[in-house]
């Protein structure tokens, strides 16, 4: 006879729990505990407040970290480097407007390069964070010096240091040139590294040396059939001539103001007063003719660069031209402060005028909105730094209509 009793589950299995009433009680209590825990947890979660993510790059000093990683230096350096990449552009812990938190960031990168002094990417990235992102060129240079010392055969730390000095700290000095020369010596240095030296020469006012440098680059590129670099060198050469012209004109305008006691309103005034005498200057058109001639005669340019340059120098005086855009000559503009004058191109003066007029017109419109009338004079607007007329003629303002123009260009 078969038993009608339900079959018991195998002992130890999950279902055997329900063979006895105590098992049911336990299971129900268990479900209750789980539900209670989840509910309570949900209450906690509801109380959470959203916080902005703050990046903390604070580490102990490099010598301590070096010991803590127990010889796993390279992989630790990699992990810290990856962490810094992830944190880049974030909100840093203890960030203050004075930028003191960058000392902690310097220490962070210092730790990486202590763990692996040959980690070139870390130097490049550290320079980017401290130099390019935060303008702490002092820290960036200090860090790159460590990179140079440990990797003096690699071009990167030398080049980065030169770059940050020239374009960041605006110090195109001998130290920057030294960095470039060290970078050039590296086997891994690309061809374009040396061109930074011409930029340094140009920015430090040694225009003739810069032009010779660009001319040599141009000649080498032409001889090697590198049209791209030849084009770049030619453009840079023309830009350097322009910068030189601007510098001569600016120096003359400054000298005029100093000696005459008042600033000139145009470059013609400066030239007529004899402040722009004839001086030896490279003529771009003549240079191009000479280049073509030497190319045709010798078949090569690079050995004759100095000869070509010297035969292209002519005595030039008066208002020097804008060689890249002859239709956009150099002019003087009146600056907003100290009655200074600056040499710019004509188109730049127009743009500055439009910009200044926009500022005035906007202030007049706001005044009208607030007072339902136009200001009786421009002084009534009480602007902290009233924009001056770049044409040096003074603004022409009509209180009745609120229209403001410059007498030199009423169409603007």
């Amino acid at each position: 006879m078969k038993s009608r009793m339900p079959q018991a589950s195998p002992p130890g299995s999950f279902w055997s729990l329900f063979d006895r009433p105590g098992g049911w009680v336990f299971f129900i209590c268990f479900l209750g505990a789980v539900a209670g825990a989840l509910l309570t947890q949900h209450q906690f979660v509801k109380g959470y407040k959203e916080k902005s993510w703050v990046e903390s790059l604070t580490l102990p000093r490099p010598e301590y970290v070096k010991r803590l990683v127990l010889g796993y230096d390279a992989v630790s350096a990699d992990l810290l480097f990856m962490r810094s990449v992830q944190a880049f552009g974030g909100i840093y812990e203890n960030a203050d407007p004075a930028g003191h938190h960058y000392n902690a960031i310097f220490n962070y990168f210092d730790v990486i390069s202590e763990l692996d002094p040959h980690f070139l990417e870390a130097y490049a990235f550290g320079n980017m964070v401290m130099g390019d992102e935060s303008n702490r060129y002092d820290l960036a240079l200090l860090y790159l010096k460590k990179g140079q010392w440990n990797n003096w055969r690699a071009y990167q730390p030398w080049y980065d240091a030169a770059y940050i000095k020239v374009y960041g700290a605006k110090e195109p000095d001998n130290q920057a040139k030294f960095f470039v020369r060290q970078a050039i010596k590296s086997k891994d240095a690309p061809d374009w590294v040396g061109r930074l030296e011409h930029m340094i020469d140009e920015q430090s006012g040694q225009f003739d040396i810069a032009m010779l440098g660009w001319l040599q680059t141009y000649a080498n590129s032409v001889d090697h059939g590198d049209k791209l670099v030849a084009g770049i060198a030619k453009n840079r050469f023309a830009t350097t001539i322009n910068d030189w012209h601007k510098k001569i004109l600016q120096d003359a305008a400054d000298k005029y103001k100093k000696e005459q006691g008042k600033a000139a309103n145009s470059l013609d005034e400066v030239a007529q007063a004899g402040y722009l005498p004839a001086i030896p200057i490279c003529d771009l058109n003549l240079l191009q003719q000479n280049l073509s001639m030497f190319q045709a005669m010798q078949g090569k340019l690079s050995p004759y660069v100095e000869q070509i340059y010297e035969s292209s120098v002519v005595q030039k005086g008066g208002i020097l031209p804008n060689v890249t855009r002859p239709d956009d000559p150099y002019v003087l503009i009146c600056m907003d402060v100290k009655d200074d004058r600056m040499v710019v191109t004509q188109s730049t003066r127009e743009m500055a005028t439009v910009q200044n007029l926009k500022a005035w017109r906007s202030a007049i419109a706001e005044f009208y909105k607030a007072n339902n009338r136009y200001p009786s004079s421009l002084d009534e607007l009480k602007m902290a730094l009233p924009p001056s007329d770049p044409y040096c003629a003074g603004w022409k303002y009509d209180p009745a209509s609120g229209i403001i123009v410059t007498p030199a260009r009423e169409d603007l």
Partner: protein, 356 residues
């Protein structure tokens, strides 16, 4: 015949008997080693460690995407650190139980009742464990080199070359069966990468990404020979937990050996040796720096080789850089002497140990 002569004869005959009973050294030690190896490979911990290490290396492809630069370097460093770390884990976790298990399970009685000396037993255990670790390292090494080679073979550029081709009019079009072509290419790449990985271990078919990796692995193997000797030493007189703690402490002290010496020098430089306590500290740290294994030099060698490989330069050039540490010469003889000394100490302790 005098009593002394009788005694001498008895001693000699006993000695000769024992010599006859003893099996040849060169067959006993390998037998115990192979048995230890077989026993170790049955240990599940070994497989867990191995799988974890292989997973970590395989995931290096994901990790390399987390950085904007130094991709190859990240893969390389992560893999080499994993080989070192997990090799160390095997040495500690398997090594600490080796001798203890024999004592705990009383199986030592069967071994010592056979014509096997205690020193043979201990050396057999050591070489068996070392074989286990080295086999593990070689598996990890081949896998790691295979992963690097695979990344070289299967990347976007290579796949584009395989899956697309230029037709007669110069336009690009996809191959006829892209899925099949892809599968075949990946499958052959896996096999070829593994084969190349084995060749790389012997310094053949290296690429700039795999250059000198075999050298770094070799340095790791030498370092682990010393750690394993310490694991055996501690295992010969203490419990597994204590052995683990002692071995880890020895590892830490070994890696910081130069700092222990630097501490002694600092005490002297700052004039802190005037007191007795200062003197004790000085001589203790100076003594410790001479006794503790200099594991730092293995890391230095590995780092130098790794750097040379990473930058694709000869290591002679690397070490001539200012700030570069001169490559420690003679790490191989050092390893042999130091390991022999530690094993000798283990034998001395083990032979006087009472198994009751």
């Amino acid at each position: 015949m005098s009593v002394a002569a009788d005694s001498q004869n008895m001693h000699d005959s006993g000695y000769q008997m024992s010599q006859r009973r003893r099996a040849p050294v060169f067959s006993v030690i390998p037998s115990i080693s192979l048995n230890t190896f077989r026993e170790a490979v049955r240990n599940r911990i070994l497989y867990i460690i191995l799988i974890f290490a292989l997973l970590l290396m395989a995931s290096s492809g994901i990790v390399r995407d987390l950085t904007i630069a130094a991709h190859d370097r990240v893969v390389r460093d992560l893999g080499l650190a994993a080989i070192n770390f997990f090799g160390l884990a095997v040495a500690i976790l398997v090594g600490i139980n080796l001798v203890y298990n024999e004592l705990d399970k009383k199986s030592i009685y069967t071994i010592v009742s056979k014509p096997v000396s205690r020193w043979q037993f201990l050396l057999g255990k050591y070489f068996g464990l070392l074989l286990t670790i080295y086999v593990n390292i070689l598996i990890m090494g081949v896998f790691f080199l295979g992963v690097i080679n695979y990344q070289d073979r299967v990347n976007e550029d290579k796949l584009a070359e395989v899956l697309w081709h230029q037709n007669a009019s110069g336009q690009y079009e996809q191959v006829q069966h892209p899925t099949l072509t892809y599968t075949k290419y990946v499958a052959t790449s896996i096999v070829a990468s593994a084969g190349q990985g084995i060749a790389n271990l012997f310094g053949a078919m290296t690429t700039p990404r795999t250059q000198y990796i075999n050298g770094v692995i070799f340095a790791t193997m030498l370092e682990l020979a010393i750690i394993t000797a310490f694991a055996i030493l501690y295992s010969s007189f203490s419990t597994p937990i204590l052995s683990a703690i002692f071995t880890i402490m020895t590892f830490i002290a070994g890696r910081l050996n130069q700092d222990i010496w630097a501490y002694a020098m600092e005490l002297e430089k700052k004039g802190l040796r005037g007191t007795m306590a200062g003197n004790i500290k000085y001589y203790l740290s100076l003594g410790a720096s001479h006794v503790v294994p200099n594991l730092g030099q293995y890391r230095e060698s590995a780092n130098q080789l790794n750097q040379a490989g990473y930058h694709g330069v000869q290591w002679v050039e690397m070490i001539s850089r200012p700030g570069g540490i001169s490559l420690p010469a003679g790490i191989l003889p050092y390893t042999i002497f130091y390991t022999a000394a530690i094993l000798g100490l283990s034998v001395l302790i083990f032979r006087s140990r009472n198994f009751k």
